[in-house]
C-alpha cells in the first residue's frame, strides 16, 4: 500500500497523491518516511522536502509548518511550499535582497524585524532548492535545458 501525501498551505493544495517515500525537514533534523511508519507529529523547519515516486523524485521548498505521519498518510501543513520547478530564482533573489535591506534598518519594531527575518529565511530556502534543481537539470542525462554559462 503506497503512502498518501498531502502538502497544503493556507493558499491552497500544493501536492496531493500517492508516493513511495517522503524526506522532510523536521525541526530536529531530516526525517525519512516510508509506508507503515509509526504515528508521528512534528514541527517542520525551513528546508527542502523531497518525495520519491517510482523513479521520479520531486523537490519542494518548505517554509516551516507541521507534519502529521500516520501509517499510510502523511499530511504536511506548510506555512509556504513550492515545487522546485516553479520557483523563480530571480524573484527569490530579489526577495532576499529586500529582506536583508529591511533587516539592516534598525528603526523598525520587533514584529517588523521578525517578519523580515522570516522572509529572509524563506527566500534563502527557495534559492537553495531552485539552485539544486538547476544543477540536477544540467547534470541529468535527460536534461532538455541549454547549458547556462554561469
Amino acid at each position: 500500500m503506497p503512502l498518501r501525501l498531502d502538502i497544503v498551505t493556507a493558499e491552497g493544495v500544493v501536492f496531493s497523491g500517492d508516493v513511495d517515500m517522503v524526506v522532510a525537514p523536521g525541526s530536529d533534523g531530516e526525517l525519512g518516511i516510508l509506508p507503515r511508519h509509526a504515528p508521528l507529529m512534528t514541527t517542520l523547519s525551513y528546508g527542502e522536502l523531497h518525495v520519491r515516486r517510482g523513479d521520479e523524485i520531486m523537490y519542494f521548498a518548505i517554509g516551516g509548518g507541521f507534519m502529521e505521519v500516520l501509517p499510510y498518510q502523511v499530511t504536511v501543513m506548510a506555512d509556504s511550499a513550492e515545487r522546485a520547478e516553479e520557483i523563480d530564482l530571480e524573484r527569490a533573489e530579489a526577495a532576499r535582497r529586500r529582506a536583508e535591506e529591511r533587516l539592516r534598518d534598525r528603526s523598525k519594531g520587533a514584529e517588523e524585524l521578525a517578519r523580515a527575518q522570516a522572509a529572509l529565511r524563506r527566500s534563502m530556502v527557495r534559492i537553495k532548492v531552485a539552485q539544486a534543481q538547476r544543477r540536477r537539470q544540467k547534470s541529468g542525462p535527460s536534461s532538455q535545458y541549454p547549458q547556462s554559462t554561469e
Binding site: 498518501r4 498531502d6 497544503v8 498551505t9 493556507a10 493558499e11 491552497g12 493544495v13 523536521g26 525541526s27 530536529d28 526525517l31 509509526a38 504515528p39 508521528l40 507529529m41 512534528t42 514541527t43 507541521f66 502529521e68 500516520l70 501509517p71 499510510y72 498518510q73 499530511t75 501543513m77 506555512d79 517578519r115
Partner: protein, 309 residues
C-alpha cells in the same frame, strides 16, 4: 405636454441608474470570482488543521492542560465576539442578516459581550446600539488578504483571551455556500474545542474519515507542548483568516446578486415608463390634432355664416 416631459426625465434618470448598477454588478462579479477561489483554496488547509487537532485530542494525554488556548473556564463571565461584516453597503441583506444573527446570539448570552469588529457596517451598527467595542479592524484589510494581514486581529484576540479579558470567544461571520446562498454562522473560536467540529460545515467534506483511525500513540518531535505551542496560534489565526475569506466571498456574491436585481428592476421600470411615455405622447398628438380639426371646423362654420349673412 408637461407629463410627457416629466416622463422623459424619469426615463433618462432610470437609464442612468441601470447603467451604474450594471457596472457595479460587473465589478462585483469579478471580485466575487477571485474571493470565491481564495475561500475555496483555504478550506483544505483549515480542514486538515481540524483533523490533526482532533487526532491530538483523541490521544490519552489530557491536552487541555498543555496549552492555555485549550483551557476551558467556568463560569463564563465575559464573552468576546469577533464580528465580521462588510465595509461597504449596497450588498442586499448581507449585513442585515449577519447583524440579526449577532444580536440574537448576544441577547441569549445573559451577560454583555465584548466586540471586536472587522467591517464598518458591523462597527457602526454596534456603536449605534450601545455595543461594547474593545477593538476595531475595519478598513484595514486589503481586497485580497493574506494570512499576514489577519495576524494582528488574531494576536489581539489571543492576547485578550489569555490575559483573562474574556473567557471565551466566538466568531460571527457569513459562511459562503454558493453564489446565491450564504449563511450567517456563530462558531466558537477560543478555547479551542477539538471535538466539536461541526460536521455540517462546509469543511467537513474535506475530511477523510476512513484514513483517520490512529493506531497507538503519537511520537512527538520535539514534544507535544512545543508542537501545540506553535500549532494553536497558527490554527486560531487560520480560522479567522478562513472566516474573513468566507465573509468576503459572501459579500461580493450578495452584492453581485443585489446589483443584478437592481439592474433588472430598473430595466422593468424603464419598459413601463417607455410605454407610458409613448402613450402620453400619442395622447398629446391626438389632442393637438383634435384642436386643429375643431379650430378649422369652427373657422369654416363662421366663414359660411358670414357668406350667408
Amino acid at each position: 405636454m408637461a407629463r410627457v416631459r416629466e416622463l422623459k426625465r424619469r426615463i433618462r434618470s432610470v437609464k442612468n441608474i441601470a447603467q451604474v448598477t450594471r457596472a457595479m454588478q460587473m465589478v462585483a462579479t469579478s471580485k466575487m470570482r477571485r474571493a470565491q477561489e481564495q475561500a475555496l483554496a483555504t478550506r483544505p488547509y483549515a480542514a486538515k488543521s481540524w483533523q490533526i487537532l482532533t487526532h491530538l485530542a483523541s490521544q490519552s494525554i489530557n491536552i487541555e492542560l498543555l496549552h492555555p488556548l485549550l483551557a476551558r473556564r467556568t463560569p463564563i463571565r465575559h464573552t468576546g465576539i469577533l464580528l465580521i461584516t462588510s465595509d461597504k453597503g449596497l450588498c442586499g441583506a448581507y449585513n442585515t442578516n449577519i447583524l440579526r444573527t449577532a444580536v440574537h446570539f448576544m441577547s441569549g448570552l445573559g451577560h454583555p459581550a465584548m466586540l471586536i469588529t472587522v467591517g464598518r457596517r458591523g462597527r457602526d451598527f454596534m456603536l449605534r446600539h450601545g455595543g461594547h467595542l474593545v477593538a476595531d479592524f475595519s478598513e484595514t484589510l486589503p481586497p485580497r488578504p493574506t494570512p499576514l494581514d489577519v495576524a494582528p486581529i488574531a494576536r489581539t484576540v489571543m492576547d485578550d483571551f489569555q490575559s483573562g479579558r474574556y473567557d471565551e470567544v466566538y466568531l460571527i461571520y457569513t459562511e459562503f455556500l454558493n453564489t446565491l446562498s450564504q449563511r450567517p454562522i456563530v462558531r466558537p473560536l477560543l478555547p479551542i474545542r477539538p471535538f466539536e467540529l461541526e460536521m455540517d460545515s462546509v469543511m467537513a467534506k474535506y475530511l477523510s474519515p476512513e484514513v483517520t483511525r490512529i493506531t497507538g500513540e503519537y511520537i512527538y518531535e520535539p514534544d507535544a507542548a512545543a508542537i501545540l505551542g506553535q500549532m494553536l496560534p497558527r490554527f486560531t489565526e487560520l480560522q479567522i483568516y478562513q472566516a474573513i475569506l468566507e465573509a468576503l466571498a459572501s459579500e461580493h456574491s450578495a452584492r453581485m446578486v443585489a446589483m443584478r436585481n437592481a439592474t433588472d428592476n430598473a430595466n422593468a421600470l424603464l419598459e413601463h415608463l417607455t410605454l407610458s411615455y409613448n402613450r402620453a405622447r400619442q395622447e398629446a398628438i391626438t389632442k393637438e390634432m383634435l384642436d386643429i380639426a375643431g379650430g378649422a371646423e369652427a373657422l369654416r362654420k363662421s366663414m359660411q355664416s358670414a357668406a350667408v349673412g
